[in-house]
């Protein structure tokens, strides 16, 4: 994360608001369609929120009936929708796959490749604690002693990485290996630029994360 941050701040001047918006929109789309939680794009969210604030201050200077104010407001509402929906989608995934995400995130934090923002991670941990307390209070404390332990591993829900997704290739990627379940004959396919496919999420998960493909 640290190197990426440095790169970003180095050419911060060159990134236009338009590019940020495009990146954010594709991150939103990917997050909506991927079965697992993806690395956060908090840099983009923060940057866009700053833009929005700046814009809102300017709009307030305009008379209310001004056509420009209407247009700007409409655009800001569209962008806010994307941001809200993006963050909500992530929270939904965090709640659903809470245990597995917290476990995996702990390992990722050690290697510095965290997927959650610090506040998301805090939310995930608090959610887990609350869930555990709730289950203990309602059920576990009322059953015989040796059955009272809360077994994280048995409660963990994992995203189904084998589920099928639609994607569009942003650039050509060769040699994606599709496992064959029956014949042990693995198949290899190439994703040409702009081509569209339906396949399992798992073999292309990394390509989603590094932006080589876009889920549709």
């Amino acid at each position: 994360m640290s190197t990426e941050d440095l790169d970003l701040s180095a050419d911060e001047e060159e990134i236009t608001a338009e590019t940020v918006l495009k990146t954010l929109q594709s991150a939103w789309q990917n997050e909506r369609l991927a079965p697992e939680i993806l690395p956060h794009r908090n840099d983009m969210v923060e940057c866009m929120l700053g833009q929005i604030q700046h814009m809102e201050r300017n709009i307030n200077k305009l008379p209310k009936t001004d056509l420009r104010a209407c247009i700007h407001k409409m655009e800001l509402n569209r962008i806010k929708y994307i941001i809200c929906n993006y963050l909500k989608t992530r929270l939904n995934k965090i709640e659903k796959y809470c245990i597995s995400i917290v476990n995996e995130e702990r390992q990722r934090t050690e290697s510095g490749t965290n997927y959650l923002t610090p506040s998301e991670f805090r939310y995930a941990q608090e959610y887990l604690v609350n869930m555990e307390n709730h289950l203990k209070n309602t059920v576990l404390n009322h059953v015989p002693g040796r059955m009272q332990t809360f077994e994280h591993n048995k409660m963990a829900v994992y995203p189904n990485l084998q589920s099928h997704v639609f994607l569009k290739a942003n650039s050509t990627v060769n040699g994606i290996v599709l496992e064959d379940m029956i014949g042990d004959q693995d198949e290899e396919i190439d994703l040409e630029e702009d081509s569209q496919h339906i396949l399992q999420y798992k073999p292309i998960a990394d390509l989603v994360k590094n932006g080589k493909v876009q889920l549709v």
Binding site: Q25, H72, Q162, H164, L178, I182, Q196, L199
Partner: protein, 196 residues
């Protein structure tokens, strides 16, 4: 995703309008547009075009492809080809729906255009159903779908990936009942997420 979200994405496409007012350039986050000159055509995002139209501040210029002859050709081509042909744009259905909905009086022969676009959609959807059927019968876990637009892909979304997921589960199940293999661990993982 919901169809209205696909529509939302499609609304970012650039279309041409003729404003009936004059104004300076406007600097939006998604880019700068204008200057607005009454009577002169200019490009704006579709959402802005529809908004201005609703305020009766502009006329919409029909996109090049929204023309009976062009669409007739596309329809014939679509009928002839075994595969999906390339559509004039990635969001033709959204564009058609919004433009014809908000500004049908700006489009010559709007009713006929509406019908023919609907025809093209129907032909493509029936093709899509046939190829989905073939894909499932061949037990495939992979398909290539060039030239399908986002709305078309989305229309089969709960069904096709879910069916392929089930097929995969069944395959894994038959595999599991034969002597244990290395892959069973991945199955129990996907299985547990289904159960809860």
């Amino acid at each position: 995703m919901d169809p209205y979200e696909i529509e939302f994405i499609g609304e970012n496409r650039i279309v041409s309008i003729i404003p009936n007012f004059s104004y300076d350039k406007i600097y939006l986050i998604c880019g700068e547009f204008g200057p607005f000159r009454a009577g002169l055509p200019m490009n704006v995002p579709l959402w802005l075009a529809v908004m201005l139209k609703q305020k009766q501040k502009c006329r919409l210029v029909p996109p090049d492809w929204m023309d009976l002859d062009v669409l007739e050709n596309i329809k014939e081509e679509e009928k002839r080809s075994r595969f999906f042909t390339k559509m004039p744009n990635e969001h033709y259905m959204v564009e058609a729906k919004l433009i014809l909905g908000a500004a049908s009086e700006d489009i010559p022969r709007a009713a006929e255009i509406k019908t023919i676009i609907k025809d093209i959609w129907d032909i493509r959807m029936s093709k899509l159903r046939t190829s989905m059927d073939a894909l499932m019968k061949s037990g495939g876990s992979y398909g290539r779908l060039d030239h399908l637009t986002m709305m078309e892909i989305n229309s089969v979304k709960p069904l096709l990936p879910a069916a392929m997921d089930e097929l995969y589960r069944i395959k894994m199940m038959t595999r599991k009942s034969t002597p244990a293999t290395l892959n069973t661990s991945t199955f129990s993982q996907s299985g547990s997420s289904q159960n809860i």
